[in-house]
Assembly symmetry: C2
Homo-oligomer: 872 residues x 2
C-alpha cells in the first residue's frame, strides 16, 4: 500500500463522492495533486478550501452518473483542477472563475475591483464555452482583439462590451444563454472533464504514455482566490534552493494582476521575488519582497514550513489576493543530481530527514553524471569539430557509425564513440553502450542531447563543421581530415569539442555533499563493493573510488601490454610443453611485477585474481606483419605460424577451450600464474610488513573435479614458494560461477572453495543461450517487442539467471556457511541487480571503477530496504 507521504504519516480514511482536501490521502483514489494538497493543508499552509471527487466518482459521472451536490459548502466562486495518478499520465487543464454571473459580478467587483471582476467573468464565459460547449476559442479571442485594435489599453467599458459580446456569441452558437448559477456551471464543467477523460482519444494517449488506459482521474473543487485585480494581487512561484547546485538560494517569479498559468505565458515580464535576485539580474521592476513584504514573509515561511513538514525542497505556486498569500500547489523542486545530493545532505544535517532517508533520496544511476572525467585543461587539444556542449563530461574511444557496432564494441569491453547525423529512438540502445555521442545536426533539445543527459553520457550535438558519409563510412572534417570506424577520438561534452586521440583526462571532482552522502552510504551498507580492475593503474582508480577491494582482476589483460604479447604468442604457439614452459618462464617476472604493484596499491584490501580465461586464439596476431614478426621471433616459417593459429580457431569460442579447461589441459599456465601471485604476495607483504591474502579465482568451472585438480596444483605451487621464501602465507582459492551447471552444483564447489563469485555476464549468455557479441543483431527488436523486458546484459534477469543465483547461494551456504559470495559481472554496477544481490545474501558486488559510487549508494539503499522489509 502506498503511504500517505514519503515519510511516515499514517493514511486517513476518505468518504465517497466528495472528500475534504485535508483527508485526500490515498493517491490511488484521489490522484497525486489532491494527495499533495492534502499534505499542504495538513502542514498548515494557507490552501484555499476544497473538496475532491475521487476516481470512482469521476468515472461514474463519465458514464452519466449524478454529480455530487456541493450544497452550501465552499464559497460562491470555484476552481476545478484535475488530479491524475501520475503527472506523466496527463490530466485536464484547470477551469477557473466558476460561479461568475451577471448576479455575482458585483460581489466579485466589490472584492477585487471592477476590472478584475470583468476580466474574470470574460475568462469564465470563454472557458465554459470552449471546455463544456465545445466552442472555438479563436472566436472568443477575436472579440477581445477586435477591441484591442480600437484601444491600446482596454477601459472598463471595453471589458463590459466584450463580456456582452461573449455572452451573445455563446447564446448564438449554443442556442441557450450562458448558465447563470454556480451549480449549473460546475455540473457542466465536471461532466465535460469526466467525458474528456473517458474519451477514446484520451485513453489511447494514456496508453501511449505508458499508463493503463483506464488510469483514474479525480477532480478537485476549490474556492477561488483571485490574483486578478489592479493592486496587491497576482500569481507566482518560489523555491528556496538553487535547481542546479541545490544550495540555499531563494528564487522565483511574480506576475501582478494575473492568475493560473498567466505568469508562465510570457505576455508580461514577471517580477523577481527577492531583492537580492532583483539586484543580481539588474531588474528595475520591484520585487515581491518590496511590493508586498507581508506576503513575502508568509511565502518564505510557508516554504520553510513545508520543507520541515515534508522533508524536501519545494517549488511553491501561490496567488496573492489583496495582499493575502494563498498556496495553490507545491511540487518538489526539479533539480540536477548534484542539487539532489546537496539538498538531501543539507536536510539530513538539519535533522529534517534521517541519513537513511537522504541516502534513499538519490537515484544511484543519476550519479553517473557527477562522475565523468573532464579533459585536462593543460592537455593539447587537436580539435577537428565543434558543436553544442549537450551533455557534460569527456570520453575517449573508438569511432563507430551504428548503434549495433557500438553495442558490439561495448560487449568486447571497448569504449565506443557513436557518431550519427542525428539520433532517433532506434539509437537509444546503442547510446546505452556508447562512451560518448557526437551528432552532426541537432540542438540542445535534440534527441541525442536529451537522451545523453539522461544517461549522463558526454555528448556534442550539431557539429555542423563535420560531414558524415555513411555509405563510405567516413567522417570528414572541414580541414579535409577523414575519420573512419576504429579511429580513436575524444568527445568533450562540457566544451562541445571533438578531438583526435586521447588527451589527458582529469577525474570528476565530487562535492563535499557528495562525499558526505557516500560516507553515510558506507556506514549503512552491509554489502561490500569491489572493483573490477585489471592493472595497477585500474587499481589506483578503484582506490580513489573507495572500494572494499578488487573483485575481479582479469589477468589476461596484462598480457596485451607492451612486448608481452609476443612472449604470450610464443607460449601459445609452442610446439610442445617444453616450449610453452620456456615462454612462461619469461612471462613469470612480468606477471609477478604486476601483481606486486596491485597488492601494494590495494594495501591489504582483498584482491581476487582470476586465472587465465579467454581462448588462446584471442591473443594471436591478425595482420600479416604481426605474423611475420612472430615467425621471425620464433624462428619458424610463416606457414607454420598460420597453421598453428588455424588449429586453435573455434566454432564457438565462448563455449570452447577456455577458462579452467586451459588450466586442466595446459596446467603449466596456471602454475606460472600461481607462482607469480604467491611470489608477489610474499614481496608485497614483506615490503608493507603486513600480510597480503591473495584470492585466486578459477574461471568457467562446470564440474567440481576441475576445482580439485587446479586447487591441488595451486596448493603445490604455494607450498614450494613458501619453502623457497621460508614463510607460509595465507591465500584463498575460489570459483567463478558462470556456467548454469556451476550454479546448480554450487554445493559441491563450495566444499573446497573459500569463495564463489558469480560471473553474471557469461552466466546470462549461457542461461539464455545468447552471445552478448551477437545479441546486438536483434536485441533492439527483442526489447521493443517486449520479448525481454530489459536487456538481460544490463539488468539482471531475476526470473532465470536470478533463480540460478539463488539456488547456488542456498546450496553453497548450506555446504559451507563461512563461504564468501560475490558477483563480478557488469550487473555489479546496476542498482536493481545490487538490490537482488543483497536479498540473495551475497557478501559483495564487484563492478567497473567508475560505477563504484553507484554501487556503494545502491548497496546502502538495498540494506535500508532489506531492513524495512524485515530482511535484515
Amino acid at each position: 500500500m502506498l503511504r500517505c507521504d514519503m515519510d511516515d504519516a499514517a493514511p486517513l480514511p476518505a468518504a465517497a463522492g466528495l472528500t475534504p482536501l485535508q483527508d485526500s490521502c490515498t493517491v490511488t483514489r484521489v490522484g497525486a495533486r489532491a494527495h499533495r494538497l492534502g499534505r499542504l493543508v495538513a502542514a498548515g499552509l494557507p490552501v484555499p478550501a476544497g473538496l475532491v471527487l475521487p476516481f470512482d466518482t469521476v468515472a461514474e459521472i463519465a458514464e452519466g452518473g449524478p454529480v455530487p451536490d456541493l450544497g452550501d459548502r465552499l464559497g460562491p466562486f470555484l476552481a476545478v483542477r484535475g488530479s491524475a495518478g501520475e503527472k506523466a499520465w496527463g490530466g485536464p487543464q484547470s477551469v477557473l472563475n466558476i460561479g461568475l454571473s451577471d448576479e455575482t459580478l458585483p460581489l466579485l467587483a466589490s472584492r477585487i475591483g471592477e476590472r478584475g471582476a470583468l476580466e474574470a467573468y470574460l475568462r469564465a464565459i470563454r472557458s465554459y464555452g470552449v471546455r463544456v460547449a465545445g466552442l472555438d476559442p479563436e472566436e472568443f479571442e477575436n472579440l477581445y482583439y477586435d477591441q484591442m485594435k480600437l484601444a491600446h489599453k482596454l477601459e472598463t467599458s471595453d471589458l463590459v462590451e466584450i463580456v456582452a459580446a461573449s455572452k451573445a456569441l455563446f447564446e448564438d452558437q449554443i442556442e441557450h444563454p450562458f448558465p447563470q448559477s454556480r451549480e449549473a456551471q460546475l455540473e457542466g464543467i465536471l461532466r465535460a472533464l469526466a467525458s474528456e477523460w473517458n474519451a477514446a482519444s484520451a485513453r489511447i494517449l494514456r496508453e501511449a504514455r505508458g499508463a493503463p488506459p483506464d488510469a483514474g482521474l479525480a477532480l478537485i473543487v476549490q474556492d477561488m482566490v483571485f490574483g486578478l485585480g489592479d493592486r496587491h494581487s497576482g500569481a507566482g512561484s518560489f523555491q528556496a534552493v538553487d535547481s542546479a547546485t541545490g544550495v540555499a538560494s531563494a528564487t522565483g517569479r511574480f506576475l501582478p494582476d494575473a492568475q493560473g498559468a498567466d505568469a508562465g505565458r510570457g505576455v508580461r515580464t514577471p517580477h523577481m521575488i527577492t531583492e537580492v535576485e532583483r539586484l543580481a539580474v539588474g531588474q528595475t521592476r520591484p520585487s515581491l519582497e518590496a511590493l508586498e513584504p507581508e506576503a513575502y514573509r508568509k511565502l518564505t515561511a510557508a516554504s520553510a514550513k513545508l520543507t520541515a513538514a515534508l522533508g524536501d525542497a519545494f517549488e511553491v505556486h501561490f496567488t496573492v489576493e489583496a495582499g493575502e498569500l494563498y498556496v495553490l500547489d507545491a511540487e518538489p523542486v526539479r533539480r540536477s543530481t548534484r542539487a539532489s545530493v546537496q539538498v538531501a545532505v543539507d536536510l539530513a544535517k538539519a535533522g529534517v530527514i534521517s541519513r537513511e532517508r537522504a541516502v534513499l533520496r538519490i537515484d544511484p544511476k543519476a550519479l553517473i553524471e557527477t562522475l565523468h572525467p573532464q579533459v585536462d585543461p593543460n592537455a593539447r587539444r587537436d580539435i577537428f569539430g565543434t558543436g553544442l556542449p549537450a551533455s557534460p563530461g569527456a570520453a575517449t574511444g573508438t569511432i563507430c557509425f551504428s548503434p549495433e557496432v557500438a553495442m558490439t564494441l561495448h560487449a568486447q569491453g571497448e569504449s565506443a564513440i557513436l557518431v550519427r547525423v542525428e539520433t532517433s529512438p532506434e539509437d537509444i540502445r546503442g547510446m546505452h553502450s556508447a562512451a560518448a555521442v557526437l551528432t552532426v545536426r541537432g540542438g540542445m533539445t535534440s534527441h541525442a542531447a536529451v537522451i545523453a543527459r539522461g544517461l549522463g553520457l558526454p555528448c556534442v550535438v550539431g557539429a555542423s563543421d563535420l560531414s558524415l558519409n555513411l555509405k563510405k563510412g567516413e567522417l570528414r572534417a572541414k580541414d579535409g581530415r577523414v575519420f573512419r570506424q576504429g579511429d580513436q577520438v575524444t568527445i568533450d561534452g562540457t566544451s562541445g569539442e571533438a578531438m583526435t586521440g586521447a588527451p589527458a583526462m582529469l577525474p570528476a571532482v565530487p562535492t563535499d555533499a557528495f562525499d558526505t552522502l557516500m560516507d553515510w552510504a558506507d556506514e549503512i551498507r552491509t554489502l561490500g563493493v569491489r572493483a573490477n580492475a585489471d592493472t595497477p593503474a585500474d587499481a589506483a582508480v578503484a582506490r580513489r573510488f573507495k572500494v572494499d577491494g578488487i573483485g575481479l582482476c582479469r589477468t589476461e589483460h596484462m598480457f596485451f601490454e607492451g612486448d608481452r604479447i609476443n612472449v604470450m604468442r610464443e607460449m601459445i604457439l609452442a610446439e610442445d610443453t617444453a616450449g610453452r614452459i620456456s615462454a612462461l618462464e619469461r612471462l613469470l617476472p612480468m606477471q609477478r611485477a604486476d601483481f606486486s604493484d596491485l597488492f601494494r596499491t590495494m594495501q591489504g584490501l582483498p584482491v581476487t585474481i582470476r586465472l587465465l580465461d579467454p581462448p588462446l586464439h584471442e591473443f594471436l596476431p591478425h595482420s600479416s606483419s604481426e605474423i611475420a614478426d612472430l615467425a621471425e621471433a620464433m624462428d619458424l616459417p610463416v606457414s607454420t605460424i598460420i597453421a598453428r593459429a588455424d588449429d586453435l580457431r573455434e566454432f564457438n569460442p565462448m563455449l570452447g577451450k577456455r577458462g579452467v579447461r586451459l588450466g586442466i589441459t595446459m596446467p603449466e599456465i596456471y602454475d606460472m600464474q600461481a607462482r607469480a601471485i604467491f611470489e608477489a604476495a610474499h614481496d608485497a607483504a614483506a615490503a608493507a610488513k603486513a600480510p597480503v591474502v591473495p584470492e585466486i579465482m578459477i574461471p568457467l568451472v562446470s564440474a567440481n573435479r576441475e576445482v580439485e585438480l587446479v586447487k591441488a596444483r595451486v596448493d603445490k605451487v604455494a607450498a614450494s614458494v613458501a619453502a623457497e621464501r621460508g614463510e607460509v602465507i595465507e591465500y584463498r582459492i575460489g570459483v567463478m560461477v558462470e556456467t548454469p551447471r556451476g550454479a546448480l552444483r554450487a554445493g559441491d564447489l563450495a566444499k573446497h572453495s573459500g569463495f564463489l563469485s558469480f560471473g553474471t555476464n557469461d552466466l546470462t549468455q549461457m542461461t539464455y543461450g545468447l552471445s552478448r557479441d551477437d545479441a546486438g543483431r536483434f536485441m533492439r527488436d527483442y526489447v521493443n517487442l517486449g520479448v525481454f523486458p530489459e536487456d538481460p546484459f544490463h539488468t539482471l534477469d531475476i526470473e532465470g539467471v536470478g533463480e540460478l543465483l539463488l539456488i547456488a547461494a542456498r546450496r553453497a551456504r548450506a555446504e559451507n556457511p563461512n563461504l564468501t559470495l560475490g558477483l563480478c559481472g557488469e550487473h555489479g554496477g546496476d542498482p536493481s541487480s545490487i538490490r537482488f544481490c543483497k536479498v540473495a545474501g551475497f557478501d559483495y558486488v564487484s563492478c567497473s571503477s567508475f560505477r563504484v559510487p553507484i554501487a556503494r549508494l545502491a548497496a546502502a539503499q538495498a540494506t535500508i530496504l532489506s531492513r524495512e522489509d524485515g530482511g535484515e
Copy 2:
C-alpha cells in the same frame, strides 16, 4: 545389496572362517566363483563338496592370521581355487592334488590307478614347490623331460623316478622335505595364495584393471575329483547352445586322462562331446557320448537342470572320474548379441524365465551390431583396398585421419570414416564418433578390431595394400589413386573391403527372435519412442524400425537438397522483406511437398516439425564458384554477395541469431513454414481420409513471450489455410526446451504449449558452457582425468542437465498436467538417459532411426525397473 542370483533367491547367512559352498551366497563376501558354485550345489548338480574362506578370512591370513582348521571335513585329497569379486580383477590359478604324500599315494592309486596317482603326486610336488616355496618351474619340467628323452612313453617306473627326483629337488632347494600331511600342504598353499593376493604387484595390477587395490579374494577348498588315470576319466566343457546364433546345439570338448586346464593347453587334441558334432567335423576319435554314455547323459541333464534352475544357458566345466560326472564350474555361455537374443527369447518361450526377464537380459547398446546395414550384393563395388573383415556391417562416410576430426564431423551430424595406420587407446573416443574404421595394419585381434566389434562398428583392419601419409594427409591405393580428408568412401566390415563413394545398402535383417523380443519390449514399455527424421526417406527408415512417431523433423535439412539451396540463399541474402518473401514463395511448394510425403509415410502417427533453427549463415556458399553462381542468379555483384554474407557472420553462432530469434525478427520465414505444414496436413488428411495432427515445435526458446508471438502468427496462418480449404484441422504448438532459461521457465512455457520437447544436445552445451564442436579438443583429457565421468554429449549428465530436466518437467506438469513431455537430443538413443527420462515422467524419447530398437528395448527395461522400484 547384491542379490544371490540374477533372479530372486533370497540371500543366505554365511558363517565366519569357513562357509560350506552351498551357503556361499554373498558375492561381496565370497567372490563370484564361490557364489556360482553355491548356486550349482543348490540346483542339485554333482559339485565336489567344499568349504569357502571368505574375503576377510583370507585377508587375515595374508596378515599372518591363523588358517582355519579343516578338521575331518572333506576327503584326503583337495583342490584350492580362488574366488574374486569380479572375473576381470584376476585371481590365482587353482592348486590341485593337495594331500598327495608317500603315505596317501597307494590310496589314490587304488582309486584311479598307479600311473594317474603318480602323475598327480608329481603335479602336487611341482605346484607346491613353485607356488609355496618359490622354486623355478623349469627345474621340475627338466626332470620330466630328462626322462622323456630317454623313453618316448613314460612307464610307471619312470614316473616313480621323477617323483623321487622331484622330492629330492624340493628338499635340496628348500632344505626340508616336501610336507607329507594334508594339513601342512593346505596351510602352506592358503598362506601362499593369500600373500600373493596381498603383494604390492598384485594390488597395482588390480588397480590397472580398474578394480579397487584391496578388492577381496576368497579361497575355495574342495574335494579333489581326478580326471587323471587311464580309463573312463578326463576333463572337458560343454554347452547346449551355439555361441554365435544362440540356437540349441550341443557342443563341447573332452580330454581323457586330464585335469583342470589340460584340455585347453592344446597338448593333445580333445574329443568332441556329441556324435553329431564328431561327424560334423569328421573326427575319428570317439565322442564322450560314445565313450561314456552314462556320463554324457548326466552331463546333458546337468546342463538342462542348470538352465531350468538359473534361467540361462551355461558352459559346464566338468571332470569324469571313473565314469562318474562332476561339475567343477559353470559360466553363462559367452555369446554374440544375436545369440543373447535367441537364448533369452527361447528361455522365455519355454517358460523358464519371464518375458520381462528376457527383455532385461539384453544390453540395448549391444543391439547395434545386429542393426547395421550391408552393401547390396548387386551394387557395383569400386574397391580400392582390402583387409580383414574385423567387424561386420557397412557404412558410408567422409574420410578423416584423426579421432579429433571424427568427433568434429560427428558433432556436425556427418558420418566419419576413421582411417589410421593402427589404432591405440587414444583413438577410442574418435572411434565412438566414427561410422566405420579402416586400418592399414593389424589383425583380427588388433586394437581396432576388438574395439570396433565392441562398438558394433563396421571395421576393416590390415588393409596393407593401402599406404597412409599423415603429413601429406593422403591415403594412397595400390593403383595410385589418392584419397584425402573429406572424400566419400564406404567400408564393408563383413567383406573386408574399402570402396569409393556410396554403393547401395541393404538394411540389417533381424532374426525372428529379435522381432519377438522387440514385440515384447513394445508390450511392456510405457515410454514412447520416436525417431529424429528430417526427410521422407528418413521417415521411411523410421517406420521400418516401428517408431511411435517422428519426434524431431529438422526442416533445415530439407533446404540443402537439390537446387533448393540456391532459393534458400536468395531468401537469406535478400535486401529487404519483399525480396525475402519472394524467395519464400518459391520455397513454399518444396516444403509443402516434403511435409505431404512425411505425413503420408507416417500414416497418422505424430510428426513433430521444428521450425527453422540454424543461423542463416550456415546455408551460405563457401566456394568462389558457388558464390559466383549465386551472384548470377540474384543478378548482384559478387562483392555484394560476399559483403552480405560477411554481415551474417557471428562470433558464437551457437548463441547467436538462430531458432525462434529468426522467427521473431523475420517472421515471414516461419509464416511460410507454417503454411507449408498446414497445407500439407490438409492434403495428406484428404488423401488418407483420416486426420493428420501436425505438431509444430519452436526452437531455442528462452522467454515465454517468444512462444506467444510465434504462436499468434502460426495460429493466424492456420486460420487462413483453414478458410482457404474450408476445413479446420487440429494441430499442436510446442516448445523445444534447449536453453537453461527455457528449462527454468518451463512452467510459463507450458501454459500455451501442447508439448515440450527437451533438446538435450543444446541444453548440455549451454549448461556446461561447452560447444560440442569444440569440446573434441579436450574431451579426451577431461574423461581420462575423470573431470567428467562420461562425455555428457553421449550420456546425459544427470547432476546438471538432468536437474534442469526434472525442474522443468515438474513445473510444466504443475502448470499443465496434460502436456506431452519428450526428449529429442542424441541422448534419446542412450539407455541410461532413457532410464532417466522414464524416471522423470517423460512421455517419449526421440532418437536417430538406427537407434530406435535400442531405445525401444531400453524403454521397456526402464519401465520394468521403474515398476520394481515402485516407481510405477
